[in-house]
Point group: none
Chain length 182, copies 2
Amino acid sequence: MGRKKIEIKLVKDPNVRQVTFSKRRTGLFKKASELSILCGTEVAAVVFSPGNKPYSFAHPNVDAVAAEFLQQEPNSNEAHGSSSSNEANLDELNQQLLDLTNQSCEEAKKGKLYDEALKNQSNKTKLQDLQELHESAAELRCLIKERLNEMEAAEAMLVMKEQPVEFSENHVAKKKKRKTKA
Amino acid sequence: MGRKKIEIKLVKDPNVRQVTFSKRRTGLFKKASELSILCGTEVAAVVFSPGNKPYSFAHPNVDAVAAEFLQQEPNSNEAHGSSSSNEANLDELNQQLLDLTNQSCEEAKKGKLYDEALKNQSNKTKLQDLQELHESAAELRCLIKERLNEMEAAEAMLVMKEQPVEFSENHVAKKKKRKTKA
DNA sequence: GCCGCTATGTATAACGC
DNA sequence: TGCGTTATACATAGCGG
């Protein structure tokens, strides 16, 4: 897809690898976003950068917001003479959101996996195990949800104070300058 | 990318939508795969088809990604460079948390339905996989519970009052503070 | 409904700032 | 390190079997 064809092998140059990662992560999330919108389906994706930083994407409504959010350029933003407590808080929330997103992702994947396993067997006995597993997952989600609500409330109070800033979700598909190549 | 440009909007024709989904899901997973190989990173993606069938992709494997995640320290703010426009972001975050929570519930519901559906099917035998999955899930749950406790504690502290936290780019990576709960 | 085909729209490798 | 540009490699919409 570039000036030269590259083989899908680990990019040895760490520098180039980082660049590749950034570009492709963006592309991947964009694709995920399009898929979710075009088909009205739920999509979640997680990826760790070469530096082990987690990045995630999830659809329903979060859409490309998560991706956009994680890619914000620190320079585009101005104002916000808030206390450091907010910054710390934001980071916290960020972290948590990521974790939760991924947890959801993992759970979903889990379900997928054992569904596959089930398809490869006809052992009725194991169905119960699956049932339990699913229920466990459901419980876990509820647990997470409750904690989330609490955290959210706390955050809201803490933040309940200043300006809006138009951070909106001018999501992924923003560069619309297309033209046929020569 | 096809004979005609299409706008990223829900495809009305269910038939076409299904086709689009299949093609794009394949493409998305391929991209995810390439990304993980090219950059040697961990990647996980899940997507539900229009028929609510879960499909997933993950590089090393789910558990690896999950474990990686759960090792993130709530207090180590080395991830992502977003410390600006906090107020706005918090709003976005709250919204995202809401959506995510809802999504989780949705998924849980679907998971059960799917499980039910599977009860009417039968195939080969692969108890081992099931066994592994079962164990993995149990472990995952423990990890998440602990993680939740940590988040809660951190949250409490933050809400209580501020913490300077000077955000640097050094990669703390993981700190193996996990204890294999049994 | 899945496979292949082909014309096009996109993503992105190499560069340049 | 990040963002923009250009030339190409890829992905895929619309069809046909």
